[in-house]
Structure formats: C-alpha cells, structure tokens
C-alpha cells in the first residue's frame, strides 16, 4: 500500500495527442516558437488530417497505458482536405459515447479544433487536459495490464 502511495506521488500522466499536420501540429509549433510553456506530459503524433485518425488508435493508446488521449484538427470548415474533420467529428463523437458507455471518464478522451495560428489556445488546452487527467489519476479502466492478469491471454 505504501509503495502504491509513493508511486502515486511521483505519478505523471501520459497524454497522447494525435494532431493534423496543417492546423494543430502547426499550432503546437507556434506555441513553441512563442515559448508558451505547458506541461511536459503531452506527446504529439503527427497525421495528415484528423480524418485519418482511426478510433482504433485511441483505444490502443488507452489499452497501452495512456492516461489521456486527444485528437485535434482544423476548425470545422477549415479542413485542408475540405471535409476530413467532419468525418473525424462524427467518428470520434461515436467513439466518445462508446468509451463513456463502457465506463471511461469523459475527460480521458477529448477532441479539439485548434488552428495553426492558435498557439496560445494549444498551450491553454494542454494545461487544461493535464489538470483534468491529474485530477482523475492513472487510467485503470481499459489498461491491458489491469484487465488481464499476468499469464492471461487477451481475447
């Protein structure tokens, strides 16, 4: 018990972000260029478009131990590929409902629209999600090592 408490004190969330290269990735770069600090817990994966994001990627991240996952792309109407973020919005909304249905806290998976000119918004959003996830604590619900004990075979 004491060991767990100690590890919880040093616990830092793992937050995985999947960002489109045209808007949010550029927005994150702008946050960097403007030296806007945000928590170190965020790690970004670059994709061409939020429409490229398969819900599988998000589930996989949660299974592998991510404490929070977010997807971010261009604002609706501004997609570089004209309609990719609309597809993303529909797919991710369905996924979000599903994840909530199986008992995941809604803050664990979020999606945003952050443009290439919104460096400040990116930094603010990262602070917010970091706070939310820290409040929730480690993700145990979908994490594979919690669901399957050692020696079990995943279905």
């Amino acid at each position: 018990m004491s060991i767990e408490n100690e590890s919880q004190e040093n616990w830092q969330p793992k937050i995985v972000g999947i960002c489109c290269r045209w808007c949010t990735y550029a927005g994150a770069d702008l946050a960097g260029i403007s030296r806007m600090n945000y928590p170190t817990t965020v790690r970004v994966i670059r994709v061409p478009c939020s429409g490229r994001v398969n819900p599988q990627f998000i589930i996989r991240a949660l299974q592998q131990g991510a404490d929070g996952v977010f997807v971010s792309g261009c604002h609706p109407g501004d997609c570089h590929y004209s309609s990719g973020n609309y597809h993303a919005r529909r797919r991710l909304q369905v996924l979000k409902k599903l994840l909530e249905f199986v008992g995941l806290e809604p803050e664990r998976f979020q999606f945003y629209w952050i443009s290439g000119s919104e460096g400040a918004k990116f930094a603010e959003t990262m602070k917010k999600i970091d706070e939310q996830i820290k409040k929730l604590g480690p993700n145990k619900k979908l994490k594979r090592s919690n669901v399957f004990k050692q020696g079990d075979r995943p279905a």
Partner: protein
C-alpha cells in the same frame, strides 16, 4: 530488419540548453533497431549533414531518425540529405524536440529530457516500419481551360496566352465580356467601362493562342492536375462559321419585341440577334424558343436574306473534347432577386424601383435610353432619386450575411451621375455603413458628399406609390427619428450572389463551395487563387463579391499560378497516398463517398480460382487525384485501404512507443 541511425541536434542552445542531448543519444542507442546514435551542435549545417551521409554509408543504415526542430522546417532538407547517401528520401522520420519540447519546457530540463527520449522512441518505432516511397511523374498538358469569359476570364486568358500557352475560354452567353461591358462608367476614375473592356475582348478573340467557345457549357470533366479531359457542349447557334456578321438577318427578322437580356429587359431584340453591337464573336444566335421557324415551322426570312448561307436550322448541339493541364473557374456573379424577398419594397411591382444594374444600363450612352436617366414608368426625368444600400447584403434575415463590397462605391458613382446629369436634382442615400476601402475610393465618396448627396444612416422599411411619386419610409438612426422621402425613382443596391449555375460548375469540375455558394479557395490568405483540387484555380466574383480592380488582380494572380504549372513538362505526384490491398478489398466502395477528390473508382479485376476465373470489383486509387488525407482508410470496413507514409502499422507503433 531495419538498421536505424539516430541523430540528435543541439540546435546551439535552443535544444541543448534545456535537454541533456548526450543523455538522449545514449538512451536512443538502446532502442530496438538502432545501430548508431550521435549528437551534433547543428544537424542541418553542412558538417552535420555530412555526418549523416557518412554514417549511412559506414553503418549501412536503412532508416534515419533526426531529432531536431519541427519537420515543417527541415524535413525536406534531411530527405534530400539522406538521398545523397543513396537512401530513399522517405526513410526519414523526425522527432520534434525543439518546438514541442525544449522551447515549451525551458524550466523543467529533467522532464524535458525524459520527454525528448520518448519522442525519439516514437520516431524510432515509426522508422522501423517505414518503407521506400516513390514520387510518380505526372505529365502536364500545356493548355488551360477557362470557364467564364468575363473580365476575369479574359484577363487570365491573355496573360496565360502571352506566356505561350494555348487557352480555351468557355462562355455560356453568346458573347464574351461578362458583366463589365454592361456597366457605364467605372469608379473611382469614371472611365468608360466598355471602352476599356471591349478592346480586351477583341485582343482575346484575335490572339493566336486563344480559342473561344461562346454559347457553350462545360459538360463533363475527367482527369487530374496536368491531365484534364473536358467535354464542352457547344449549344446549337443555328448560325455557322460562314457568317460575316453583316447584320442583314437581324434587320429582316420579323419577330420583334423580345426583352433584351443585355439591357435587363429595358429594350427589345429580335429572335435572331447579337446581344450588343460590340459582341465578340460578332455572330448572331437564333433564340429557338421565340423564332417563328422553330415555333411555327415556317418563316425562313433570315435564311433567305443571308448573303453567305450561314443560317443552319438543322444545326444540333455539338460535344467537343479538349485536353488541358489546368482549369480556371471565373464564373462571376449575379444579383440577388430582390423581387422575391422584399415585399416592403413592392416585390418589383412598382416600375420605378430598379436595381443598380438597371441604372447602369440607363445611364449608359449605348443603353436603352441613350444615356438619359428616365423613370421607367413614364419616361420623365426624376428630380429626387433615392438609393438604398445593402438590399440583401448584411442582412441574415432576408438575404446574405456578407457585404457585397462594390455597392458603396457604385452607389456613390450613381449619385454623382444623377447630380451631374439632372440639374437641380436631389439624391438621398440610405446606408448602414459607408465602406470605401480602396485606392482613391474614400476621396471619391467625399467628392460625391460635397456635391450634395444626402447620406442618411438607416434602413428603408417601406416603399409605396402615392400619386406620381414613391414614398420611401426609413429611419435616420443618427438623429433617432423616422424619415420620409417623396421620390421619383428608387435604386436598390442588391447583393452579389454566385452566378446561376455556378454550383453545377463546381460539381462538374469537382471542387467545393462555401456556405454562400461562392467558390472555396484553398487558403484564404496564402492560396487565394487555388481550389483544394489540384490544377483547378479560381478568379473574380465567383470566389466572393469583388470590384473590377480586385477581379483583374486576382485573374492575373491565377494566371501566374497556371503559367507556373504549365511551365513544367512533368510534375511530381504526392507519394504519401492511399493504397488498396486488392486481396482483401470487398468492393463495397464505402471509401468512394468519403473521398473529397473523387480519387477512388471501382475497378474490375480477374482472379484465378481453382478451375475457373472470377471477375470482381475492387476500389482503385487514382494517384493523380489522391491528396493523401487518409479519410478513406478509416471508412474501409475490411481494412484494405492504407495510407503510405502514415500506415496503420506505423501509427500504432508510434502509439505503443509513447505509451511504454
């Protein structure tokens, strides 16, 4: 098994001042597949690049990870660099440890170092799954097609043709010239619109590199950037190329009193006609819905009198296929039909309530009244003229939310013309705001104001006739009181809307329109003359309300882009595009509806099964059209579609690496 080399950049102190770069390099050496790991002060510098090249050769690297700045900045630099060492340029993955690490975590060096290690682990994981990609060479047909022969289309055609490329203009009306030839004088210089536009029409018609189809429409567009195949529908003109434009036919034609579209119905034309005397080409067209020969089956007067035998009643629609490398959409605007939405202004029942375009024809010396401003109802000269701005513009409830941009200036010009032409006349202008942004525009507005035009800030709530006059009821919102003007004529500055049929053009060519139906540019600031479809460009009021100087500037801008494209005999195709695994594609084509570029089409393949051959349908990706967004890969039910450079396997390995 990949042999990966990792190169960590200090970027001077930009990264090295926060992140413990040597520690990251030591950790990176332990990652799966890494055979070499190094750090250097400036990786993008000449010695840094040389270091990568020699390491690739010495350690027989098959993949490279560079951890430095954002890939937006130097991905191309390092791709070229590894290609020098004989590696495929796409065997590179970058870790962004500057913009997304050292620059945002300056105060937490330990955590930043840990994050940098994880970002490198992600890049190494992806690098392990990379495969060589190849750019395809797309040949370019050095011809351009322009849809719309208004001033935008003409200007772009002349620019492109002068650069030595063939140009084809497709115009829906019987003549080119568009809206500009209808206008009288242009603001703010007050030079005659026709005098500056008709010479351009003639230049276009006489240009050896320009081919003009009038009375024609674009029926079908196939292909992709550099290689479009366009079917042009040449509507039956009933007059063939023997015509010299002598004019005997329309002089003799017995069918009179057809409202002339060019004068907005304020003058009459015959059943065989040219829209206006300076029309290009100067070849008439028979209005088959009104012509006696077609309606009643007997007449034949024009055929009998034609000295060259050019009249051909049997002529049918023709379909011509043109191959071009680029397409420019320049379909212009129309005015909103206020008579359907403005009941308070009389739904168009009162003849003396007209639009700005009617006024232009009226005040034009070649117009229906010979340049005299006369009331349509009784032909009397009006003494008091009221102008109402923003009719249908800036009014979400009634028309459109946007500003039509040209109305403030043309209304000022109209006011000036009334005051100039009618001695002792009075002009009242109802406005919401006066927007005169443009060179010498504000000066022009002030000049009109000083000439005596009365600017009243407020909307007009009602117009109704009383005796010989029109009563205009409005509000002066600056004084906060109602205003009533007894007017002889009212001119409405109605909203510009996309021209009728422009939605069909967008659908046929394959690009998007915005919420108001105007054509959507690829980027409002940085790519204002391109659409999101490769090789398709736009210019003029089809993109949004515009005046003539802006239209011409945009047309020349689009022309420069097209000349740039046509100057290449081959262009490199994007290699990160979707790929179909035909073995598992079920042919459901759910991907086809998702694709914004119409890049996916069904394809029949033949498979050999034991003892027989089976034909089945699978999806196939057109490498010229696909832009690599990857939306289709998620829609694919059996998982047969994947995106090169961003495959499911690569992305999942990145997720795994970050979650370790």
């Amino acid at each position: 098994m990949q042999r990966i080399g990792v190169f960590i950049c200090w970027c001077g102190s930009n990264i090295g001042g926060v992140v413990d770069v040597p520690a990251v390099a030591r950790e990176a050496a332990k990652f799966h597949g890494v055979v070499y790991s190094a750090e250097y002060k400036y990786m993008c510098s000449e010695p840094g690049q040389e270091m990568i090249v020699s390491a690739i050769k010495e350690h027989r690297l098959t993949g490279v990870v560079v951890a430095s700045c954002s890939p937006t900045l130097h991905e191309i630099t390092f791709r070229k660099n590894i290609a020098r060492a004989g590696l495929n340029p796409y065997m590179l993955e970058m870790a962004n440890i500057r913009e997304q690490c050292s620059w945002v975590h300056q105060h937490e060096p330990e955590k930043a170092t840990q994050k940098a290690i994880e970002l490198v682990r992600r890049a190494v994981a992806k690098a392990g799954k990379l495969e060589p990609l190849f750019e395809s060479a797309i040949p370019v047909t050095k011809r351009a097609l322009i849809i719309g022969g208004g001033i935008a289309g003409i200007q772009a055609a002349l620019d492109i043709a002068d650069a030595g490329n063939e140009v084809i203009i497709v115009e829906r009306e019987p003549t080119i010239g568009g809206k500009m030839v209808l206008l009288d004088k242009t603001f703010p210089t007050l030079d005659c619109s026709a005098c500056i536009s008709t010479p351009k029409m003639v230049s276009a018609a006489q240009h050896p590199n320009i081919k003009i189809y009038t009375y024609a429409e674009v029926e079908e567009v196939k292909g992709y950037i550099g290689n479009f195949s366009v079917v042009v529908k040449q509507k039956a003109r009933s007059v063939n190329s023997k015509c010299t434009g002598c004019g005997i036919c329309w002089a003799k034609c017995p069918t009179k009193n057809i409202p002339n579209e060019f004068d907005l119905g304020m003058s009459m034309r015959k059943a065989i006609y040219v829209p206006f005397p300076q029309a290009v080409p100067n070849r008439p067209v028979i209005d088959r819905e009104r012509c006696r020969q077609f309606v009643k089956g007997k007449c034949g007067v024009c055929q009998k009198f034609c000295p060259t035998g050019a009249i051909d009643y049997e002529q049918g629609d023709e379909f011509v296929t043109e191959n071009v490398g680029a397409i420019l959409a320049a379909t212009g605007y129309d005015l909103i039909d206020w008579t359907k939405i403005y009941g308070e202004y009389g739904y168009g029942k009162y003849p003396d309530v007209v639009t700005g375009l009617h006024f232009e024809r009226m005040v034009n010396a070649s117009g229906p009244t010979g340049g005299k401003i006369l009331r349509p109802s009784d032909g009397e000269q009006p003494k008091t003229v009221v102008f109402v701005k923003c009719v249908g513009s800036r009014d979400e409830a009634k028309g459109r939310e946007y500003c039509s941009r040209a109305c403030c200036m043309y209304t000022a010009k109209h006011a000036h013309q009334v005051l100039e032409k009618i001695p002792g006349s009075q002009v009242v202008i109802f406005y919401i705001d006066v927007r005169c942004a443009g060179k010498a525009y504000e000066e022009f507005y002030l000049k009109t104001l000083h000439e005596g035009a009365i600017y009243t800030r407020g909307r007009v709530s009602k117009i109704y006739p009383e005796g010989n006059h029109l009563i205009v009821k409005g509000a002066d919102t600056l004084l906060g009181r109602p205003v009533e003007v007894v007017a002889d004529m009212v001119v409405l500055a109605t909203a510009m809307i996309p021209s009728a049929g422009s939605a069909d053009v967008a659908r046929t060519v394959g690009f998007t329109v915005d919420k108001d139906g105007f054509f959507q540019e690829a980027h409002p600031k940085l790519r204002p003359v391109e659409t999101n479809t490769g090789g398709v460009f736009l210019a003029g009021a089809c993109q949004g309300p515009k005046d003539i100087p802006d239209t011409v500037a945009q047309a020349s801008g689009a022309a420069a882009k097209i000349i740039g494209l046509l100057s290449h005999s081959e262009i490199a195709g994007e290699p990160t595009i979707a790929r179909v695994n035909e073995a598992i594609c079920s042919g459901c084509l759910a991907c086809q509806g998702i694709c914004p570029y119409r890049a996916i089409e069904p394809k029949e393949i033949v498979e050999r099964l034991p003892g027989k051959q089976v034909t089945r349908v699978v999806a196939s990706v057109n490498s010229g059209l696909c832009q690599g967004c990857g939306a289709c890969t998620v829609a694919c039910r059996p998982g047969a579609l994947n995106l090169k450079g961003f495959t499911n396997e690569q992305l999942l390995s990145e997720v795994d690496a970050l979650c370790q």
